[in-house]
Amino acid sequence: MSQRISLARGLETMVSTEPVLAWRAWSLTGRRDGAELLLRPVAGRSRPWKPMERAEAACKHARLHGAPNVDCSCGLHATHEVDTLRRTRCPAVLGRVALWGRVVEHDLGYRAQFGYPQRVGLICQFCFWQWGQLGSAPTVVGWFPRDELVPFCWPHLEVAARYGMEPRRLLPAHELDLRLRETYGVDALPW
């Protein structure tokens, strides 16, 4: 039997009073009229980020360790550079997030114990994949079953429809963008 050596051994540990700021992407859910907006992790079935409350990391191995643990992949993920998020699956919202508590810094980003968005903006995920943050502002937000909200630019809405991804309803992106910021009490992302 091999004995696993923790990665935490040999890692520098520092103490700070300033939260870390990093990039993060979320998926978005809400009612068909655009009410009850909720930021959700893009992957897995993790808990949503509730408005006006700090998000707290949890791990399915919670009985074994708290999150984030150096030897696990748990924690609230965020990245140093916005372009790292272009590989994210189906992002609807891009933002700057404050992280605090126990934070594990990685080569390309962070895993944190606590977090809250500081700036958010809706993105057309297809534009974002192709061109990054610039030029990814959506025109409409499609409402899908299970309250999934997906922002699109017009050309990519047409492309999505050709592949059978047709929203049940379309809402103006600028109104949902404003409502999202009001819901979370945060500022707009500077484009």
Partner: protein, 55 residues
């Protein structure tokens, strides 16, 4: 998402939590927002997507 290997651990105890202040005037509860006007996709332009101009 792969964020590479861990480099260091930071224990952050902020003097002030980076959460919105619920007492700020713009965050006071107001009347329920009106329902956004649904958009008809018939107005959509038919041009293909083009990359944004590079600075």
């Amino acid at each position: 998402m792969n964020i590479g290997r861990p480099k260091r651990i930071i224990e952050i105890a902020p003097a002030e939590l980076p959460l919105p202040d619920p007492s700020m005037p713009e965050l006071e509860p107001g009347p329920a927002p009106s329902e956004p006007m649904p958009i008809e996709p018939a107005h959509a332009p038919s041009e293909p997507a083009e990359p944004p101009a590079t600075p």
